[in-house]
Every structure is written in C-alpha cells, then in structure tokens.
Symmetry: C2
DNA sequence: TTTTTTGTTGATTGACGAGTCAATAAACTT
DNA sequence: AAGTTTATTGACTCGTCAATCAACAAAAAA
C-alpha cells in the first residue's frame, strides 16, 4: 500500500537509525540490515534509496554536521561581543543534543571513517574549517597574533573532550565540559 | 624446517604487522589474512599462536601501551623538577616513535575498539589513570588545588592533538605539538 | 629408534553480509 | 482503461573471512 512522497521520510528514518546503531554498536560495524530494521523497512529499500552502505554513512554524517552547524549559527546570531561568541560556540558544542553518548560515538566513528573514505574526510574538513574560522574570528580582537595558536589548541581540546566522553563511564556532562573549556580560555586570555 | 623457540618471534611479528596494517587501513577492518601475510606466515599460524583476532588486537594494543609507558618512565627518571617532569611526559607523548601516523591511527582505532571490547577498555583505562597520575603528581606542587582541573584539560588536549593528527594531511610534527602544549601549560602556571 | 612436542600450512567449513532482481501493488497520468 | 511511475519486499547471488582440521616436518625426549 505505497503512499507517495515516501523518499524523504524513509531517508531521514534511515539516517537517524544509522546514528543510533553506530552509537549503540560503538563502531561502524553495523549492517545495512540492522539499520533498515531499526528504521522499519527492508534491506532492499535502504539500498533502493541510498544506493549503498557508504552513502548511508555519509548522509548520517552530513546530518550530524548540519545539526551542529545550525546550532552554532543560531547561537552566534545573538552574540554581540567576542567573548559571547566564544561562549556561544562552546555552549552549542556541548549542548544536550550534540553531547550525547550516541552522537559522540558517531562522531568518533566518523573520524575513523574519514581516514578511509574521501567523502567523509571532505565533510570533516569543512566542519573543521568552519569551527576554526568561527573561533579565530572571535579570538582575534581579544589576543591578536596569538589567536592562531589558541584556536588550534581550543579546537584540539574540544575534540579531545569529545573523544574522552565516548569512553567515559559516567553520564555526559556538557556543563562541566564548558566550564573546563572556559577555564582554559580565561587562562589564555588573561595573558 | 621448524626451528624451536619461534613463538615469541612470531608473536612480535604479528603484533607489529597488526599495527602497520591498522595504520595503513585506517581502521580495524583488517583481516587476519592481511596481518599474517605481512608478518610472513599463514593465517592458520596466526590463529595458532593467538587463538583469535580479538587477542591479536589486544596484544597489539598492549604493545603500544607498553612502549609508550616505558618511554614515559624513562624520561621521568632523569627529571628533577616538576617542570622537567611535565616536559618529559610531553616529549615522550610526542616523540618520533609514538607520534607517527601509523601509531596514531592505531591509537584512534583502539579508542574505538575500547567502546566494544571490555579488555580493550580496561587497557585504555590503565593508560589513562597512569597518565593522569603522572601529570597530577607534577602539577600539584606547582598549582595546588587547581591541579585536578588542569590535569583533566591537559589529558584531553593530548588526546585531541592525537585525534587531529590522525586526519592531518601534513606530516607529523611532534615538536610543534609539544610547543603548543607547553604554551597552554605556561598560561596555566603563570596564574 | 620410537615417541612426543613444536612449528607450519593448504584446504575446507560455515556464517554472515552487501548488493541485485523479479515480482507485487498502489497511486498518478493520459 | 491502459500505461507509467513510485513504493516495497522476499529470495537469491556472490564474495569474504574467521576459525578449524588434517597432514607433514623437524627437533627433542624417551
């Protein structure tokens, strides 16, 4: 009993299911069958809409990146001062939506994926460039020439906190993460 | 033409081959066949000595952790002041042996492995505790109560730099990494 | 010298999973 | 009404891979 206009619905269902499954498996060792089942359809349909496993993964990654970007952009929109811009970036990065184990695990695995799949690498590069630009733009007026080095470090620190979160046995605590990052920043700004 | 006492030789060959293959594949998607071939033996022999793929992976991980620990311990041995201890840890972490793409990629993948395989998680926990203790011990006399927070941040920062290295298109530059970490430290110590 | 232990592999098994295909059916077009 | 497009799946193919096994060989022990 096929209803028309299913494509976008099926696709988003598959993308969400993919993130969930990667999160729960903690690896990319997830079969199309598992994903399709969680999304409530047959394997064949998943292939029909995406053409292959790799494309499903890429779509899922694109989805996470898009969500994150939107959140950052939204938070930046209302930030007036450089300090507020930095805070906005941090809050978005560790918001309840983004800083969930599932999502963090997916991120980690996308990093791994990016080592092999050029498409994934490109996506990640886009994200990294954007983050870099945002941070740099906020830092420049505050510390001038040192901004480059601090941007680098802050980016690495964010990734590091994510990485550790993926393995932490405790429940996610975005607040604590933000506090830590802000402590780092104030140490750098104070100088 | 079997020579006796092959076991340790074969085992180390397999461990090295595993790290190489994971590094070059950029993922844990490496077959026992590939590993065995690179180590110059048959698949069956690999199974014979290790019993299974998982144990090969764990042995490889143990090997990397052991090398790293030994290097840190060696560097710490000759460090007199707390500052020197910190530097020793950083230098060891980003030494030419440890901070190679191959090894870094293996690390990243072990992080992923640790999400699923309890044995891997345990190994990683040991490493993290040790690193934490070492840094904390050096920082305490310098900044007292703030040492805990800074230790946390420094650990995450190290991991983050590793993570980014795995994806960096440029060749590894341990020196630059150490400089960056030291810049962070001096900012924190100055306060 | 017979037996046991250690080293070694080619061939095989058995499972699993990605991707394809043919078939079925509802909706929309002409 | 006939034809086309969209949705959907069960069944199948084909490849891959972990793990096992039987068999062979050399050294050591008996």
């Amino acid at each position: 009993m096929p209803k028309l206009g299913m494509e976008p619905i099926r696709k988003t269902a598959l993308v969400k299911a993919t993130i969930t499954e990667i999160g729960r498996a903690g690896s990319l060792d997830v079969t199309v069958g598992q994903i399709a089942k969680r999304a409530g359809m047959s394997t064949a349909l998943a292939h029909h809409y995406f053409g292959g496993k790799e494309q499903i993964f890429l779509a899922a990654m694109r989805h996470i990146l898009t969500l994150y970007s939107a959140e950052v952009r939204g938070a930046l929109a209302t930030a007036a001062t450089p300090e507020a811009r930095l805070e906005a970036i941090l809050l978005a990065s560790f918001s309840a939506t983004n800083f969930r184990r599932e999502v963090v695990s997916a991120w980690l695995n996308f990093y791994v994926l990016a080592q092999t799949v050029p498409g994934a690498r490109r996506l990640l590069a886009v994200y990294q460039r954007r983050l870099h630009a945002n941070i740099l733009h906020a830092l420049r007026p505050l510390i001038g020439a040192r901004a480059d080095a601090v941007t680098e470090a802050l980016g690495a620190l964010i990734d590091g906190v994510y990485l550790r979160e993926a393995l932490s046995p405790r429940p996610s605590d975005g607040k604590a993460a933000v506090r830590m990052l802000q402590a780092y920043l104030s140490a750098e700004l104070r100088n």
